[in-house]
Structures are given as C-alpha cells and as structure tokens.
Amino acid sequence: MSHTVLVCDDAVFMRTMLSDILQQAGFTIVGEADTGTKAVAKYKELRPDLVTMDIVMPDMGGIDAVREIVSFDPGARVVMCSAMGQQALVVDAIQAGAKDFVVKPFQPSRVLEAVQRVVG
C-alpha cells in the first residue's frame, strides 16, 4: 500500500514538480490545494498519510494551515516546503506542528528523505 499525499502550494508548477517526485517514489497524490483554507478542508476530507505545505499562500498561509490541521488531527504528518531565506518561519512551522521541512528549490533526494522519515 503506498502512502497518500496532499500537496499544498499556490503554484501549479511547484505542485506538479513535487507530485512528480513523490509519484516516482511510489506515493499516491490524493489531492492538491492552492490556499491554506483549502488545505485544511482537503485534509479533513481526504485524511492523507502525509501533507506537503508551502508557507506562502494566499487566503491562509501554510503555518496557520498546519496549526489548524494539527489541532484537528494531532497525528497529522506535515512536511513544510519553504523557500530559501525563510528559516525563521520554518521554526514557527515546526512549533505549529510540522514534522520536517524541505527548502526550495527541491532536490528530489532531499524531498524523499524528509517524507520517508515522516511517514516511516
């Protein structure tokens, strides 16, 4: 059984690239979200094994979304995707309940290492 993933990023480009990386490694992408609000709603609906979460998104940012997801499901496994220069926000995200983070631009091996550690 492959793990299910919800990919959250406001850029189609990033979602596509991330989905490709994860699918190639055997994950099943069950949903995508382009805002924090949608990420929370989709999480509740799909209950994926894993969430990848962008920090900067319109409507509701990724950190607030993590907070809401974790308060809904304390066992939620979220990996943050941050751009370079957002280290400070990563700390916020971990405090909000994210399990790990990867820095854009993505290195496929680094992404897989992080998600496999989290779902493993």
């Binding site: 490709d20 998104m57 496929p108």
Partner: protein, 517 residues
Amino acid sequence: MAEMSLDLSKYVDLFLSEGREHIGELTEALNEMETTPSSDDAVAAAFRAVHSIKGMAAAMGYTVVTERANAMESALDSLRRGESQVTPSLLGHLIDEADELAREIEAAVIQPASETPGESAPDRGASVPPATTESARRTNTHVRVRASRLDALMNLVGEIEIARGRMEREVARIDDDQLSSSFENASRLLHDLRDQVIGARMVPVGQVFERFPRLVRETARSLEKEVDFTLDGADIELDRTILDRIGDPVMHLLRNSLDHGIEAVAERERDGKAVRGRLTLSAQREAGYVLIRVADDGRGINREKVLRRALELDLVDRDATNLDDVALLRVLAHPGFSTASSVTDVSGRGVGLDVVDAAVRILGGTIEIKSVAGRGTAITLRLPLSVAIVRSLVARVGEELFAIPFTHVLETLSLEPPASALRGAAWTTTEISGSQVGIVVLGNLFGVPTRISAQMPGVSVLARGRRAALIVDAFVGQQDVVVKHYDPPREGSPMFSGATVLGDGSPALIVDVNSLI
C-alpha cells in the same frame, strides 16, 4: 534510496505560463499600490507573486530570474512588515523591476541556464522573446508555424523537383558546359532546400516518448513487477506526423512487454534470471529510416501455443510444425487473432499487435519481431523519416511506371514465372532457393498488357512479416519520389498508396506493397 533526477525540460512550459500569470498579478498589485498606497492586500499579493516566481525560477535553475525576484521580494517584504513605506520612487523602481523580470522570464526559457550539449531544446511553441531582448539571446528563437504551411512548402519542393527532372533532360540534350554546371549547382541547392524543408518537420522522438518512463513505472507497479526501464535515442528525429501516430502503438508494445513478457519476480527467481526485468525503448537512425525498438528480457513468445491457435484459425499451412519469426509476426498481426480472449493469456503476446501493425503500415513502415523462449522479445518498427518523400524502386509494367517503396524492398532478382502467370494469374507461388514464395505478377494484377517471358525481373519484398516477389517488365531506376495525394477508386482493394510524378514528367502510382501480399 534510488538515484533520482528531474528532467527540467518538462516543466519549461509550466514555468512560462505560470510565470506570466504571476507577472500579471504582480503588475495588477503594483497598479493598486499606486492608486491605494496603504493597501496591505496589494503589497501581500505582489509579495506572493514574486515569491512564487522566485521559487519556480530557482527550481529551474534560472539564476538571473531568481536573483531579481529575490531582490524584489526583499523590498516587498519590508513593505509588508511596515519597515518601509510605499513612495513614488520605490514604486517606480518596482514597476521597472517587474518589467525586467517579465523579460527575463521569457528570455530564460529561450536560453536555458543549464543547457546540456546534445540535448535538444524542447518545442516551446510561441515563446518568442519580446523585441527588446538582446540579439544574442535570439539565436535559439522558435517560431510557431502552421503544419499546413510546412506541407505546402514540401509540396512546392516536390513540384520543383519534378521541374528539375524535366530540365535535366533538356540540359542533357543541349549539352552545353556552362549550362550543365549552372544546372548542377541549382540541383545541389534544391537538394539542400529539400533537406531543410524535411528537417523543419522533424521533432525529437523524446517529445512523445518522455511520458513513457512514468507510464511504465506505474504499470509495472500495478502489476507488481520489478522493471528497469531504459529510453535510448530520445534525440533521434522523426517527421511530426509519423511521431504523433506511433505514440499509442509504442505504448501498446510496452504494455504487452510488461503484461505478458516480463515475468513476476517469483518466476524470474525460479528461472535463475535477474529479479528485475529489463525493458528498453530505443530509437536509432539507419540509412534513411528510424528504427523504434521495444525489447524486454521476459519469457518470450510461446510459439507452440501460438501455432496451435493459428492452426485452429486456419492461419498457417495444415502441416506447419513451427513458426519462424516472420510467420510468427504474420499470425500475431492477423486481424482478430489476438483479440480472441482465449488467446491472449495463452499466447503470452500479441494483444492488439494487429492494431500496431496497421498503424505502422499506414505510415509506410514495417514491423520486425524477434523472440527467444525464456530470453525475451524485441519488436522493431522500421519507419520512413518522412511521409512526404519516399525512396522507391521505379519499375515498368507494360507502358506504365510504378514506384515500389524501398521500405519493403529486399532485393531484385530474375525469376521464371510459373505457368499460371502465363494464363493471367496475378497471385501465384514459385520455388526460390528451396522454399515456396508468393508471386505477384503486377501486369496481370493491374490489368496492364504485359508479355510474360521465360525469365522476368522481380523484386523480393517484405511486408507484414511475409516475403513475396513482385514480377515487373523492367526496372527503370531508383528515385526519391514525392508523394502526391491520390484518390483510390471506390471499388476494389487499394493497391496504391499514392501517386507521384517522375523526373521525366511521367506520372507513376506508388504501389502499396502491404495490400498486395
């Protein structure tokens, strides 16, 4: 963890379209900041837009774009945090920067940051840079041209080719050194022009094949098989029309290999084979053709079972005891053979091979099959480089000329027509070096008055895995013929695939060898 890399060229289009979108959002947000300097929403929207562009550009390795977006992001971030104020001069600066960023996004995809030698640039369609882009960056500019315009060009080249042929005879007749040398020069240029026009229609097979690695992986996973897939020769070029039409047949062959060829892990272990099966899709140029090959190291085709079924369906001689590769293909490609559901599992192959065969034939290509029990199967599609020009053997039958495409020609020979040919039979057989070979007497077939003599020129052809000899009256020569549209008669079998005009101006029909044997 398995070594993994991303083929960034796949994301170029997405980068460009989404980058343009974000530029639009950025421009809108900056305009709003101009009219409502206190708008936090506008600042946040502008920040998100450059942030997204920065992330995408960094992923693509477009450093120029990344750096400018990063600088803009910093400025917008400090506005967002209230650390600085929107001033007309800052806004003016941001608007200029946005314009620069827009140009750099367009330029980046034209001249990729990490250009690998030998890697052909993907077709980016209408990504023409703005007029202000440095001329140095224009060297790789792409222009989108309608396919019908390329067809028209090809057609014109064909017409000029015909005119050249006529002129050649005149030049030979007049026999003037000056004229001959000018004519030769013009001929050479025309030849170059023709190659350029054909080249303009060519695209690398990778454009269609690059989706296969993922499909193979997913199919293998769903079948719970371990497969290493290799794609070779992605940069080999093929006529766009041909490439578009072979995508599905190739996928079909890959599926067959995964489904029926490559064994489950347990079976491979038991047979002492490497646990991971190997599946290769390769493209290769070979003297005027492109060979597309799908090869696996699976169990091979079970010839006994195919033969048994072929005997039941009356597809082979009653006394046949084995099937060689040629006979095997003929049986498997027989319409309906493989679609009989009871056969698919038994034969271990052949599901829809008739469909693949038909698709390849329409393009003037042929299929070859090689299969060794326990070792694997390789299926090769031999395709012409272009559908517009066909290298042909020109033969005379009676007073008429016919072009026989080289794709099918094995050799020319001289043979003794069987007695039935004298009686007007079009299809017959004769013995050539110990084996029975089908004979098609073209004169009788086409109803052209022809004189049957004791020894006649013939051409040994191969089509649909079957060999046969076509008997003609005489060989005229070989020539690249330009295929012209041809309306086949409504009645009867379509024996011709097109028409052409030869160098001397005489018309000739192009023989559809596949339909004859």
